[in-house]
């Protein structure tokens, strides 16, 4: 009864989405408030039914109801409870259900909190949202239905892919989906604006916070996925330029650009058309990401679906939505009124520059990801575009972004003073040069570019701090006044500073990890010791243990540093009998400051030894601390509920009276 009512709830959600995608549009055309309000109640009801459906699937997984094919194929009665729950979205069908659940959640949020939106805009936004939802309900019901039953239920399930039996699965996909799907809101707003033929102030007020929410989740989701790959896959790598990773990076880059252009739009009512285009592109890239991962076009850990009908269906969804929205854009964009004007050297100008770089960077990732696929389809040749390509194209673009980054917040709206900004950044530049010199002296003989990159990162961080100091007049006004001004500073300013500093911090981590990483590879026996980066690691022996649904070989290492015993690390290798002895590597991590020691086990040798990989990764945690800071900055900015108006600086304003924003 749970299975069937969950199934039926999803069918009802489809029916409601179909009504929601048509009737409110008619209402908006006829200016009938009752018909427009149907969008609101159906969006909420749709959320209710999808949530019920999702809860039903979770219940089925938890109670191990193997009469449901999805549970049989991906669960096991002995699996710990947490993995029974996370296993719900650890497979294709369940993850698609999570996808639409989040879509319905965002639709429900707009319906619930959109009271201050003009009614026709709200009706159109929710209708567009329902188009997307309908397409995905049809996709799920037609090609990947999680509620299909087995008339003769087997007594035991096939278990979840062991690599996915990890706490990372509990966090990474929901975060990522909240990000991907969150961009559907700005997409719906963009399409609704094109349908309405105008963009009003309420539009701008709404789009930025929603984009920000999506961006925060996507940032955290990508960082989380990267950390997960780092400790679970056992290679010590944190980014592989794998198509699936790129699929999440592309919407992030476009979304970051959108975030900045939405800022201009909110404050200055400029860049309207461009913001709309970015909204469409960002969500299109999210859909593309879903297509790449879900269609089985790519073969990697993520592509647990390999079924051609699914691929064709998603491709169809992709073509209809991307093609359709871009066509609508081409047709209607000229009808939109252009907004405020600004000089090239201004805050707006800087944000345009940022957008330019970010979209170009996004385009390089796009080419690097899809070119091999296209080539394979056309000529059958299999080529792999890996790190070298991206290091040559993506990296320089991003370095340019980072050089320009500290200048942006220093420039005034409408017309800015580049020289003045440069003067104020002088201190940051000096600090950065010092950092370069120190890094050079410290590592003489290493990669020549690394100290420069560190200098750049320090420049970005110092630039963010300078911006704060300037705003509170730290060294010009008495200390007490500065403190008072600091308290009065809007939270969005703090958010900007945190987010920008986060990029610098992540860059430091990336540079240190890739340049000064040391590793040890070898076969060790009990009692052997390895020396890595000043630490001595002694293998104590190999032990067999029995877990709930696996057997594991652990190899405890005692770590000595400076003659003292620091800790015991326990890497292990797990073998899952339910999956035909498939095994996973559980790496052991030891954190020392921001650096980490990393041990992962390879295969055992016949003479009782075991292959061991030991890494010392300096400053590696900064790679993920950066994104966390960025997301934190985003949250600060989100919590700033003020209305935003970009006050242009009058031509003869005094230096001491900087606009707070």
């Amino acid at each position: 009864m749970i299975a069937e009512s969950g199934h039926y709830a999803m069918v009802l959600a489809l029916a409601l989405a179909l009504i929601q995608s048509t009737v409110p549009l008619l209402g908006a055309r006829l200016s009938d408030p009752a018909l427009m309000n149907i969008a609101r109640s159906t969006a909420l009801a749709q959320l209710l039914f999808v949530a019920f459906s999702f809860a039903a699937l979770v219940t089925l997984h938890v109670t191990s109801d193997f009469s449901v094919a999805n549970v049989f194929e991906n669960s096991h009665s002995l699996k710990p409870l947490i993995y029974k729950v996370t296993g719900v979205w650890g497979n294709h069908e369940g993850s698609m259900l999570l996808w639409v659940s989040i879509l319905a959640l965002f639709g429900g949020l707009v319906a619930a909190f959109g009271g201050n939106l003009p009614r026709s805009l709200r009706a159109r936004v929710l209708a567009v949202q329902a188009w997307v939802a309908s397409a995905f309900y049809l996709f799920i019901l037609g090609t990947s239905n999680p509620f299909l039953r087995l008339p003769n239920p087997p007594i035991e399930g096939r278990d979840l892919n062991p690599v996915l039996q990890d706490i990372g699965l509990a966090v990474h996909p929901p975060m990522l989906y909240l990000g991907y799907v969150g961009f559907s809101i700005s997409f719906s707003f963009a399409i609704a604006a094109l349908l309405e033929g105008r963009i009003d102030a309420a539009w701008a007020r709404w789009v930025r916070p929603w984009t920000l929410i999506a961006w925060i989740f996507l940032t955290l989701g990508i960082a989380m996925g990267s950390y997960w790959a780092y400790y679970e896959l056992g290679w010590g790598g944190w980014w592989f330029w794998d198509p699936v990773e790129n699929a999440s990076l592309m919407p992030w880059l476009a979304g970051t650009a959108l975030l900045h252009s939405a800022l201009v739009m909110e404050k200055r009512e400029a860049l309207k058309v461009w913001t709309i285009l970015l909204s469409i592109l960002t969500f299109s890239l999210s859909l593309l990401g879903t297509f790449l991962v879900r269609s089985g076009v790519l073969t990697s850990v993520h592509a647990f679906a390999t079924d051609p009908t699914r691929g064709v269906f998603i491709l169809l969804i992709l073509c209809v939505f991307i093609g359709g929205s871009l066509m609508l854009f081409a047709w209607r964009a000229s009808a939109l009124k252009q907004g405020g004007l600004f000089a090239p050297i201004s805050r707006e100008g800087a944000l345009v520059l940022n957008n330019l770089f970010l979209t170009t960077a996004c385009a390089t990732v796009f080419i690097g990801t899809l070119y091999p696929l296209g080539l394979e389809v056309l000529t059958g040749a299999k080529i792999s575009v890996g790190a070298p390509f991206f290091n040559l194209t993506f990296a320089p673009l991003f370095l340019l972004v980072m050089i320009a980054l500290p200048f942006g917040p220093m420039l005034g709206w409408k017309r800015g003073d580049l020289l003045g900004a440069a003067q104020r950044l002088l201190a940051a530049g000096v600090v950065a040069l010092f950092a370069v010199a120190i890094a050079w002296a410290w590592t003489s003989g290493g990669a020549a570019l690394a100290p420069l990159a560190i200098g750049l990162a320090v420049f970005v961080i110092a630039g963010a701090l300078t911006d704060l100091a300037e705003r509170i007049a730290l060294f010009r006004a008495p200390f007490g006044v500065a403190m008072r001004r600091m308290r009065g500073l809007p939270r969005s300013i703090w958010g900007t500073a945190f987010a920008h500093a986060g990029i610098g911090i992540a860059l430091i981590g990336i540079v240190c990890e890739t340049t000064w990483n040391t590793e040890y590879l070898g076969t060790m026996k009990a009692g052997d010791a390895a020396n890595v980066a000043g630490y001595e690691l002694r293998l104590e022996g190999l032990f067999q243990e029995q877990g709930p649904n696996y057997r594991e070989t652990t190899a405890p290492f005692t770590v000595y540093g400076g003659g003292q015993r620091i800790a015991v690390m326990r890497p292990s290798k797990r073998s899952f009998t339910t999956r035909g002895g498939m095994s996973t590597t559980e790496a052991a991590l030891l954190t020392r400051g921001a650096s980490q020691l990393y041990i992962s086990l390879g295969d055992a040798t016949p003479d009782g030894g075991i292959a061991v990989r030991i890494y010392h990764k300096p400053m590696v945690l900064l790679i993920w601390l950066g994104p966390v800071l960025m997301a934190f900055g985003g949250m600060l900015s989100l919590s700033d509920r003020r209305l935003r108006v970009g006050a242009p600086k009058p031509a003869k304003a005094l230096r001491g009276l900087q606009p707070a924003e």
Binding site: L18, V23, F66
Partner: protein, 367 residues
């Protein structure tokens, strides 16, 4: 049936969501307007200026810009509100009332399996017919014994499991093999006898009696064999002998023997005096009473069977069961009556008569 009721409720809720806004036709919901946003922004500028977060000049410049936008927006909003007609609303209502359930059913029926109940694992494990895993184990052990039939220990382990599963004939074979390959053993002989009794539906056949005698020959104190020899006497109608055998067992047994109360109950059944002063009087009474209750229940079942057979006498197995039941209860008169009735009922059918006679011979009541 409950499922369809739930479906109906859910469909009604979905229809309600579409119909609700149509019902609230008079109430115009407050929606945001562009001018409201600009007015908010003006208030914001005033607040910021008052908190000296922005300078007076910037505040003035921002005010001018917002006012410009405000004027433009209020011009746009002055258009007359359209007067909605009823037709599209009625169409939407029809869509909700007919289209929504029709679509839901049309999509669900080909995909769903409404007849299939849930099978949560915990409930399946608790269900009595869920003996699959045990049976699989038994199959494995049997296969092993087929390859290596001289494994007496294997047979002796398998036999009680078979007994529990109700496969008495196989259990008999298993104990025979255990004795053949593992040597003479009083326990196994007694168990074999018990299985023979079970296979014969509770009647202690000559074959079974021989096994119990063999067990007692190997070990005179073998309890199970002793009890069944008494039971055999009881079934033959020799209540005095039965009582004597059981009383003898109780006399020889240690005071804390676990089977004591069981034999005492049997002794009470044949009218023998309960061994004195060993147990509390009230306790004994309670035991008797529950034993009596049980007997009443069994008698009720037997009577129902007898009534049924009187109405429809074709069931040879039923007759045999009835006769066997009377023998087990020690009521030889009734058993003989039943045999006579049975013969009369199937007299016209030679095949059945033959079947009946064979069955009676097994029970030990031919003639």
């Amino acid at each position: 049936m409950t499922l369809w009721f739930v479906f109906a409720l859910m469909t009604a809720a979905a229809m309600f969501a579409v119909l609700l806004p149509l019902g609230l036709r008079g109430r115009s919901h407050v929606a945001g307007t562009e001018t409201a946003v600009y007015k908010d922004q003006l208030a914001e500028i005033d607040r910021d200026a008052a908190a000296s977060l922005i300078g007076a000049a910037e505040a003035e410049a921002a005010r001018v810009e917002i006012s410009r936008r405000l004027l433009a927006a209020s011009d746009r909003e002055r258009g007359p509100p359209a007067q909605p007609s009823g037709r599209p609303r009625r169409a939407a209502a029809v869509l909700a009332l007919l289209g929504l359930p029709a679509l839901a059913i049309a999509v669900y029926l080909p995909l769903g399996s409404p007849r299939l109940p849930d099978f949560p694992l915990a409930a399946r494990m608790a269900a009595p017919n869920e003996a699959q895993p045990v049976e699989r184990l038994v199959a494995q052990v049997e296969q092993h014994l087929q390859e290596k039939p001289t494994d007496a220990r294997g047979w002796s382990v398998l036999a009680p499991v078979l007994a529990k599963l109700g496969r008495y004939d196989d259990a008999v074979r298993a104990y025979r093999n255990a004795i053949t390959y593992g040597g003479e053993n009083a326990d196994w002989h007694a168990d074999l006898g018990e299985m023979l009794v079970a296979a014969a539906g509770g009647v202690i056949t000559d074959e079974a009696k021989a096994e119990f005698d063999r067990a007692l020959a190997l070990d005179a104190n073998e309890t199970k064999a002793g009890y069944f020899r008494g039971a055999a006497a009881e079934q033959d109608g020799r209540k005095e002998d039965a009582a004597a055998i059981w009383r003898g067992m109780l006399d020889k047994a240690p005071p804390d023997a676990p089977w004591r109360s069981f034999v005492q109950a049997a002794l009470a059944r044949v009218g023998g005096a309960v061994a004195p002063a060993l147990s509390d009087g009230t306790m004994a009474a309670a035991k008797d009473m529950s034993e009596g209750d049980r007997a009443t229940m069994i008698r009720g079942m037997v009577e129902r069977l007898a009534t049924r057979l009187k109405q429809n006498g074709d069931d040879v197995d039923g007759w045999l069961r009835l006769v066997r039941a009377y023998v087990v209860m020690g009521d030889r008169e009734k058993a003989k009556e039943a045999v006579a009735d049975a013969r009369q009922a199937v007299a016209n059918d030679a095949e059945r008569l033959k079947q009946l006679n064979e069955g009676l011979r097994n029970i030990g009541l031919d003639g």
